[in-house]
Subunit: 279 residues, 2 copies
Amino acid sequence: MTAYFTAENSVAAVNARMSDDANPRLREVLDALVRHLHAFTKEIDLTQEEWELAIDFLTRTGKICSDERQEFILLSDVLGLSMLVDAINNPRPEGATESTVLGPFHVVGAPVREMGDRINLDGKGESCLYEGRVLDLEGKPIAGACIDVWSDNAEGFYDVQQPGIQPKWNNRGRFVTGADGRYSFVGIKPVSYPIPDDGPVGKLLEQLGRHPYRPAHMHYMLTASGFRKLVTHTFVGDDAYLASDAVFGVKKSLIARFERLENAATEWRSPFDFVLAPE
Amino acid sequence: MTAYFTAENSVAAVNARMSDDANPRLREVLDALVRHLHAFTKEIDLTQEEWELAIDFLTRTGKICSDERQEFILLSDVLGLSMLVDAINNPRPEGATESTVLGPFHVVGAPVREMGDRINLDGKGESCLYEGRVLDLEGKPIAGACIDVWSDNAEGFYDVQQPGIQPKWNNRGRFVTGADGRYSFVGIKPVSYPIPDDGPVGKLLEQLGRHPYRPAHMHYMLTASGFRKLVTHTFVGDDAYLASDAVFGVKKSLIARFERLENAATEWRSPFDFVLAPE
């Protein structure tokens, strides 16, 4: 029989209630959750008033979620949890390109385009040629790799944030490599932008004295038969927010060169090779 | 300058972003939150899929909250967090009556009644005389103590859960002690009931193999000038759920006697003395 709850035996009192028949992984996760939650609460001597503030914060965070907005993911992002889950789940062998967060703006089914095609359909921003190779760990080109790319527009918004304002599929496209593993497309030099900051998470950042900006980046999702899926970004090398990304997505190896061009078809060129790990 | 995020430095990377100008208590709480959240995540090697389940769970928990329902409080209750916060915030000197959770069904402003009055207005259930004294730590009666009481009805519902079905203020009342510190009122012998279990928290309990029942109890909130407010219950001594209260509210010292009466005005009698701690 379980002992009655006390502050001293609080973890055991709660966890002893789980049935032996419950899913073993669920038991493991809940056991650890209760242990860490109670340790946190005891360490900081959480007051009744602070508990009420926390209940209210979580409730407002849930209430603002919609088909277009996921405030709990935003909370996970700004607490570094999303990047931690990415790190735990996507260890890479030495030499393979590192991953980073997917973010909320990926859309399945972007148009498949020809190498060299333009993805910025709204005519705004500074044009940039993206090019490079998709390689395996031995430096050999991967044929038939699908490169799904997306970025914000020159004003810092993704097409799905401005339906009816931006052209559909603006700054999005999929490209499939040939035998040489090469890719190239024309987009814009992306710009830094704030994560949605008019809700509970934005208010929290403000109270912590943190800004809501992400440094400029191009999103990539690479898939190829026999290789592990890679979700990553490349970052614009001179961005002011590289060291303070609101969601902690920057890795040094993902900072790309952006070269200013003269007398060329685009204003910038950004070379980057991707190396995929085998499955 | 902050180092880029890695799984190893994850806590430092996030917490270094807080401004020195932020509220010191907020910094302290967030610092501990990030430390415990990341330790939990690393300990259990949280998968991407489990992270998605957690985001969805929190979102549904927020969505079901309304003016009549607070699913995050329910979540706090079933994880033992509400009782832990009560224990941290309400230490009592030896000899004082112990506290327990307020619960979601207290209503401010119940009618002030005369000692001995009846609070069960719907004519249902087994009647019970509640009586005893309000005392200080030295055993002296406290005059002018306000005793605010509330319970479910014989079917396990509070009046506010059944507006239009139960009479207003059914099973509620306030009583003020005289010079002898004595109180008495007639209510019902309360019954055990399930917490609302048709939402995400109820589903979680089911998956953990836990039942949603609370053992039968009478709620009390005692206030008196010069003494600390006491929020507590008395529990019906023979209840089948005493050792497995879904919200962990039971303390041994709060289990009251319920005596069967013969040839009396009520079917039961429950004596209980309350001892208040000085402010």
